[in-house]
Symmetry: C2
Subunit: 148 residues, 2 copies
């Protein structure tokens, strides 16, 4: 029989460390990404596009689990910085295709050193990184499989 008397103690919470760590990691990314004039969510969008050019807003959103309310203004800022172009699809005018500009493509080379810099800056072992990645993905998959 479990007791729930002390459930509302911060240090007993599991979700708070996750929330705090997620923010800490963004803070560690910041100086590395500042050098490329991008934010962390913009970096994620670029990674999605480097992997597969010309995806629609929806496709990017599914990958990153972000909706148009977040993506539309974010993509507009990236367009202003000449990293991407936004164009209505010919075959379906509802969709907007996001294409990398030459400078957006070129950014990939500059970003190539970011992952290694992060491992260095985080100062944690590969083992720990992999554990975290594995369990986070496991839980994410479970959440994804039911509702969405």
């Amino acid at each position: 029989m479990m007791k729930h008397k002390d459930d509302l103690i911060l240090s007993h919470q599991a979700c708070f460390p996750l929330y705090a760590l997620s923010r800490e990691i963004t803070t560690i990314y910041r100086p590395l990404l500042d050098a490329l004039h991008i934010t962390y969510p913009q970096y994620l969008v670029l990674m999605v596009l480097w992997e597969n050019e010309g995806q629609t807003v929806n496709q990017i959103g599914e990958r990153l689990r972000l909706d148009s309310g977040t993506l539309t203004p974010l993509l507009k800022r990236m367009e202003l910085k000449k990293m991407i172009t936004r164009k209505r699809k010919e075959s379906d005018e509802r969709s907007v295709e996001i294409h990398l500009s030459p400078s957006g493509k070129a950014l990939k080379k500059e970003a190539a050193k970011v992952p290694a810099q992060m491992v260095e800056a985080l100062g944690i072992s590969d083992e720990e990184v992999n554990q975290l990645k594995r369990i986070a993905n496991k839980i994410l998959d479970k959440i994804k499989d039911r509702g969405n």
Copy 2:
């Protein structure tokens, strides 16, 4: 010798699942906390105060790793909702003490069922929750011990 050729692939990243999971969890919290008319960060502030009444903005911020730029407006919203009061400290007028109002204290009873509801809603095993908590805290501690 490690290869870094594929480091910029989203599915190889460790930080993205963390970022995505953190947001998913907030989404799962939302309906539970909506019933109490609070947001997740406000819930965290309340937990800090339920544990120890009358802390200053700084003390709350250290606990939650949030600065006054985030906390001041958040606390003002909580004050508007009559959950807390904000009062300059007599002994040091720079500091602001945050006190729970009667309804802020009463909220604790209503929130008592939230942790169990979360475990239920998350639908993951205690084992997984604990693993995640343990490793996130381990990494957080490492980050805390150096930088600040």
